[in-house]
Amino acid sequence: MSARDLLLKGGQIIDPSTGLNTIGDLLLRDGKVESAGDRIGTPDGAEVIDCTGLVVSPGFIDVHCHLREPGREDVETIATGARAAAAGGITAVCAMPNTDPVTDNQAAVGFVLKQGRAADSARVYPIGAISIGQNGERLAEFGEMVGAGAVAVSDDGKPVVSSQLMRTALEYARAFNIPVADHCEDPTLAAGGAMNEGIVSARLGLRGIPAEAEEIMAIRDILLARLTGGHVHLCHMSTKGSIELIRWGKERGIRVTAEACPHHLSLTEDCVEGYDTHAKMNPPLRTMADVEAVREGVRDGTIDVLATDHAPHHNDEKARAFADAPNGIVGLETALAVNITWLVKPGILSLATLIERMSCAPAKLFGLPGGSLARGTLGDVTVFDPTRSWKVDPVGFRTKGRNTPYGGQTLTGRAVCTVVGGRVVYREA
């Protein structure tokens, strides 16, 4: 709890949850929002940050990241991940359970929470596994994990192969009102695949992953959500077909929500040219038609949430022949800029809608505090400059990962100050 008041002065306050969009002051007191919008005097002893020319928004929440602890502390820890999030303007992250050991029980969930608190930066919410060991066989103890602080369940990194197990997970999750975050991949169609299947994979001689590998699982689980009434949250949607299927499900009132990641909104399979392993992730980079369809999905709300799928890897592991390199890129420190550069600047999203997808919607769908600047809400705030250009230099990242395809690129939009619980956890030097 913050002893001093924090006054964010003179910024453009945009809070889609209340419809607020005005130049004014934001006062945080006792870790909560005290007032938003009105020009106010400086309370005695308050810390004041001049936000003139900057946007002040409810803190961004990333519902999909990999913090690697426990197991691969050499590539990321919960602390370095939380600090990277804060540096990217993200006030809370949901940590996927594919660690070693897997976060598949209440003690493991407690460990993630404990490390998150110790990091004393962005908030860290654990996601528990759907199945023990993420083996796709026996359901993990959702009830105890939620009791310990898990906010969702997922076998992310692996698909839930058994339709019956996914059905049970969606049914069982209803008692705890948590989403089942779904890694959509038909493992037989995707087996051995290293990139999107198409002309580029044919030319490069790399085994392809067809769009259908994602879409088949997406529609299966939309149908299982219909059957069970459970909430399925489709992770990292990457294809035109998936967007159409989600739209189909939403039109029918099925409880399906979905997320997209910055790389699927900005890059295509052409980036794999030259066998650049920074362009290797799962789902893979797709075609321009897919990118355009996912952008449109974000615009019209078919995609509810913008997440990162932040996945740090060691340089030695990425410095391999393409097929032998691991999937994934880091994203916490570039997500805001990539989203502004490829969605806001071209006029696809307004800043308010961007904030809705990065803050309000994730809070609502995952039942997290925050995502709003209404009086009395958690004082998690992101202050960012939507027009600032900067060159991505991976060496300066807070994350231990350097695996980004954006290195050397000039992007627009940068977090200036990140506030968690009324306290500044990141401020641009």
Binding site: G198, A202, L204, G205, G208, Y275, A319, R320, A321, F322
Partner: protein, 318 residues
Amino acid sequence: MTSPLGKDLLGLEKLTAEQIGLILDTAEPLKEISERTIKKVPTLRGATIVNLFFEASTRTRISFEFAEKRMSADTVNVASAGSSISKGETLVDTARNLEAMKIDMVVIRHNSSGAAQFLAERIESNVINAGDGTHEHPTQGLLDLLTLRQRWGSLKGRKVCICGDVLHSRVARSNIWGLQKLGAEVAVCGPRSLLPSAIGEMGVTVFDRIEQAIEWADALNVLRLQLERMEGGYIPSLREYNRVFGVTRERLDRAPKDILIMHPGPMNRGVEIDSDVADGPHSVILDQVTNGVAVRMAVLYLLAGNSPRLAEAAKGGV
């Protein structure tokens, strides 16, 4: 002195028709060296070449070794089994260590697509791709082109069909690019489960049945069907493959014209190709093998121009 091919030979996709023509033109006179009693010229004397083979290979490795030795290079063969590679050393470390011993060229065969380029970007020596995963096998493509050129003079307007497992074939990709650049028309034929789904975008005609291919083609390049493809579920059986897609005497007899028969080897007789075809009058399969040595000598010779030390040695002439 810069090599007309650049530092490395990684694939035919990125070469121009002129560069390919230059390699073939250079290979022609070099062929004669292998006909001599003393099959040796001093061209690459003092050059050190490492043949780095991460995958089993007989024909290609020996062909490179002959090419190197007939040009007087010092050669070292490194196979993955029994070397530090089997102890988990990374490709980068292996390469850097080799280079620290002052070498001039690396010939690499690797089971991952892009491995040759990966290596080429990290070492100063010339890198020659001797087959990377399912990507390219440029010297095989070149020797196929040389074989056809010797028969036809020019490839312009000629029709070549690549038959079989195009999906997993680095030979197919190198052939497609090379043939197209030299003006030939290219088709592929095989079960769709063994063709890349985007094959139509590579500028080739696709035949579903071998009979159609035989009616159309001036030459067939028959790819090896690996036993693993049946185990991998791509085709039901080798027996059926032979009956439906096999290049047989009976089928060739119905062709409207004589068709040249090529095969990159090793052959599965009775599967993708019948013995009386492989050994028949229109087979140029052993010409391909002979040309392989000449084409590799040409590639070594041309790439050597990129290295001052080698260029010095090359003054000894062909």
